[in-house]
């Protein structure tokens, strides 16, 4: 199985700024998903992008996927204090192995 690896490990920004997190993986994928985890809570699904898609939007979230570089990015625009959380990418490979999560990016948005 493969594991997505997020970069950076931690990110601190001011409210209103954009936050960009990156994810790299090793093998061919079926889809890639981003999740958010608030402190002390379970993970919440944010967005899924399939291997034949290059970009996807959901509200203030924008996800890109570059399968040639085996990487994805998550952009949160106009960040808010409530966006403070850990963000994880997870991949489903071509063999349809279930999600394998990276260790996440800890985002702090300072009001």
């Amino acid at each position: 199985s493969q594991q997505g690896e997020e970069d950076p490990q931690a990110l601190s920004i001011q409210e209103g700024e954009n936050a960009t997190m990156n994810c790299s993986y090793k093998t061919s994928i079926n889809n890639l998903q981003w999740y958010r985890q608030n402190s002390g809570r379970g993970l919440v699904h944010l967005i899924l992008i399939r291997s034949n898609e290059r970009e996807k939007h959901s509200g203030r979230l924008r996800v890109t996927l570059d399968t040639s570089k085996k990487s994805s990015s998550l952009l949160i625009t106009a960040s808010r204090a409530a966006d403070t959380a850990s963000y994880f990418c997870a991949t489903v490979d071509r063999g349809n192995t279930p999600l394998v999560f990276g260790k996440g990016t800890r985002l702090s948005v300072i009001a």
Partner: protein, 117 residues
């Protein structure tokens, strides 16, 4: 609103004791996952079930861990005997998957924080 529930939310026990964690998946979901989260290892997949049948438990230490789904509304994860290194947050997640679908959105429970002294 539909959500995954887990009990207990917190468990403190002594080394050697048996620990049982329970999960109620979202009604109608046919796939259930157990994860363990620690600072060092991140989120690890321990086992998962589809239509109550175990599909893969290779992530689980077999000698002390066991996972079952006695019915469609209950999944259990048991540790016997527990050890301090088992201290972690254990998450259950459920999903609805068709036979030709890839794994899509998973819905996570709030987790069980286990501390083994």
């Amino acid at each position: 609103d539909a959500r995954v529930t887990q009990t207990p939310r917190d468990k403190v026990t002594e080394m050697g004791q048996e620990v049982t964690m329970r999960c109620q998946p979202i009604l109608g979901h046919n796939t259930v996952f157990w994860y363990r989260q620690t600072m060092m290892q991140g989120l690890e997949l321990l086992a998962y079930f589809r239509n109550r049948a175990p599909l893969d438990d290779s992530g689980m230490p077999k000698d002390r861990f066991s996972a079952e789904m006695p019915d469609a509304t209950l999944a259990t994860l048991k540790i016997q005997p527990s050890e301090p290194r088992d201290s972690a947050v254990y998450f259950c997640a459920s999903a609805l998957l068709g036979f030709t679908s890839s794994y899509n959105e998973q819905f996570f429970g709030p987790g069980t924080r286990l501390t083994v002294l």
